[in-house]
């Protein structure tokens, strides 16, 4: 199931080593962009997990933000709730000097919070997936869009977690280098997510979700328990999304119910866009897409402030209309040899060269 260009073992290790070294060194080399690169690692997790169900399984979801938001709130509430009353904390608007975490408390709370985020997000995927994964195509897409927005509206009405005024995660102790800490945490998560998804795609389970994408009826006829597979795949993605949400919330230092946690019309759509931009249904595509998208986004937000979403909407339209195969899809069409496809000297009429999937 190798998705990337074919490489020999030696070059593969060299490329990986270089990528990891670049990732480790980035916040030291570009300290002023550290926050943006942290966000990029989180976005890579968003795109990778979206592609697992969207690209590999063919279930295009606009609602994966639900798991981001659930993880975010679960972690933040755990961090606070372990030591203080959540109700009092939100009533005090997270302010005041009476809510302090020392280093062991903060790390313990965060560790437990990450676990809580992952578990609750997976449970949410189990519950919601059992409901909506029976639908297909655009009905699933719109149902998940509804789920994402509804979750945000519910969070915005729930007083205990701060309602519309939002929730501030626990404030880190002074002797913690917060930005660097979350940078490496996000990077570790992104690498772990990548490896986990690469692994699961190499198993029989990976073949099963590809079979569901290619023809669900046939897959079912072959005896695959399709509903269980679909729900499991969504839960697998949600597990990582929950942790990503937990880290993202702590990194942002403020959780707004509809703009940060359950941001259906921003992050919910961005995930889709990143995966499509890089190349749906490939392993490296979402990673590349996330990098390119983050660059576009930062440029728009820096130079086109006030018009940034106009530019973004335009970008969505352009990509979807003119570039739906994505960067990797385009490369594969142009240079099939790079992807290990042997190009037949005689191309059968009407068949795209290199169109075969790896």
């Amino acid at each position: 199931m190798s998705m990337g260009p074919t490489m020999t073992g030696g070059t593969r290790i060299a490329v990986w080593g270089a990528a990891l070294a670049a990732g480790l060194a980035a916040p030291l080399l570009f300290p002023s962009y550290a926050l943006q690169i942290t966000e990029l690692w989180v976005f890579i997790v968003f795109a990778l997990t979206w592609d697992l169900t969207g690209g590999q399984m063919g279930y295009n979801s606009f609602g994966n933000v639900v798991f981001v938001g659930v993880g975010m709130y679960a972690c933040a509430v755990t961090q606070v709730g372990l030591f203080y009353s959540v109700g009092e904390y939100t009533a005090a608007r997270g302010g005041g000097t009476s809510f302090i975490w020392d280093m062991p408390q903060y790390m313990g709370g965060l560790g437990l919070g990450l676990v809580a985020g992952a578990v609750l997000a997976a449970v949410a995927a189990l519950a919601l997936g059992s409901l909506v994964l029976g639908m297909r195509g655009h009905y699933f897409a719109i149902a998940t869009l509804g789920l994402g927005v509804a979750a945000g509206e519910l969070a915005a009405g729930w007083e205990w977690i701060g309602a519309g005024a939002g929730f501030s995660p626990a404030s880190p102790p002074d002797n913690l280098d917060v930005n660097r800490f979350y940078y490496y945490l996000a990077m570790a998560l992104a690498v772990a997510t990548f490896l986990a998804i690469r692994w699961i795609l190499s198993t029989r389970f990976g073949l099963a979700i590809n079979a569901i994408r290619d023809d669900e009826d046939k897959a079912e006829a072959m005896g695959l328990p399709t509903t269980r597979i679909k729900v499991t795949a969504w839960m697998f993605g949600a597990l990582f999304l929950g942790v990503a949400g937990a880290i993202y919330g702590n990194m942002k230092r403020f959780i707004d119910p509809t703009d940060v946690a359950f941001a259906g019309s921003t992050i919910g759509v961005w995930m889709v866009l990143m995966a499509i931009l890089g190349g749906k249904g490939t392993l490296w595509g979402p990673v590349i897409g996330a990098v390119v998208f983050q660059v576009f986004k930062e440029v728009f937000w820096t130079f086109l402030l006030g018009w940034q979403r106009v530019a973004l909407g335009l970008l969505i339209v352009l990509i979807v209309v003119f570039f739906p195969q994505g960067i990797l899809g385009f490369m594969r069409e142009r240079f099939p040899a790079l992807f290990g496809h042997t190009v037949e000297p005689v191309v059968v009429a009407g068949e795209e060269p290199g169109g075969a999937r790896t």
Partner: protein, 303 residues
């Protein structure tokens, strides 16, 4: 929880509140039905689910706001909003939509989502993020011992909606273009063979839908409120109504629209206004899930 129970209690102690809720639901439901009819038109003819629906509604609303700001009665804005939005819809068809008409549904879904994000901020930049009203300077009737208030502008918007619905039905049934639209919906290829310019029909259909949305939006700005980011709920409402009513059944569209309006008003009253939008979106999921369960019993599914 206790507030929900006490709100329910109010409804049983003072049944006159039910009259108010049903009446308000009926009046706004007609507007929902109008926008939904436009969505059904585009969906049925072009096989596109138009996420931009809600933004077209809001844009129409801003036309009415602009009129009211200049001291012109916003009722005059209704035809202007329709004409303007027709041009906007036609333009978007010529620029973007015609490229995605025959593509995968998810592609057109995303493309219209992109347009909707673009329009949202464009409106936010041009008109500001405030909640706006197009003041129509109309009063309210009191009924049942001043317990029920009927705002005249809501009644007016209801009447305009009904008139437009009838007009649309006549247009699709009898006019030359209407017949071409219906023929294209039934079988685009056969229509092309018989000499119908389906590309033009698509452009007209998309423009017509935008015009319908614009009208609905102008009425909403007069009778209710608008702001740049309120579009998505209108898209979702339209979608929901079409799912329940099916494509091309005006009677069912009106009934579902009014049903949704009433349900929403009850939800807003019982759960509190802050949960009204959550109710709309959860109702969408519930409707879809219920539909799918019913189909699954026959080993079919929503597709």
């Amino acid at each position: 929880m206790s507030s929900i129970l006490s709100n329910l209690q109010i409804l049983t102690i003072a049944p006159v509140f039910n009259v108010q809720l049903v009446l308000d639901g009926l009046l706004i439901g007609a507007v929902f039905a109008l926008a939904a009819y436009g969505m059904a038109l585009v969906w049925g003819v072009m096989n596109i689910i138009n996420i931009t629906q809600g933004e077209f509604v809001v844009l129409g609303g801003y036309v009415a706001v602009l009129f009211a700001d200049r001291g012109i009665h916003p009722l005059f804005a209704v035809p202007v909003a329709a004409a303007f939005l027709f041009a906007v819809g036609w333009g978007f068809y010529r620029a973007v939509i015609f490229r995605v008409v025959d593509k995968d549904l998810f592609i057109s879904l995303l493309a219209t989502f992109g347009i909707s994000i673009l329009l949202q901020q464009l409106m936010n930049t041009i008109f500001g993020s405030d909640v706006r009203v197009a003041n129509a300077h109309l009063e309210s009737w009191q009924a049942l011992g001043r317990m029920v208030t009927v705002s005249q502008v809501k009644v007016l918007s209801f009447i305009v909606c009904v008139a437009l619905g009838i007009g649309l039905m006549w247009f699709l049934k009898s006019s030359r273009l209407g017949q071409a639209i219906r023929a294209t919906a039934q079988n685009a290829r056969a229509a092309r063979v018989l000499g119908i310019d389906t590309d033009r029909v698509y452009a007209m259909t998309y423009g017509l839908n935008a015009a319908i949305c614009g009208t609905a939006g102008a009425l909403i700005a007069m009778a209710y409120t608008i702001h740049p980011y309120i579009g998505l709920p209108y898209t979702i409402r339209s979608f929901m109504i079409v799912i329940v009513a099916g494509l091309g059944n005006l009677g069912a569209v009106i009934l579902s629209g009014i049903g949704l309006g009433v349900a929403e008003n009850y939800a807003g009253f019982i759960l509190g206004a802050q949960f009204q939008l959550a109710f709309v979106f959860l109702l969408l999921v519930a409707v879809l899930v219920a539909r799918n369960w019913r189909l699954q019993r026959q080993r079919r599914y929503l597709k």
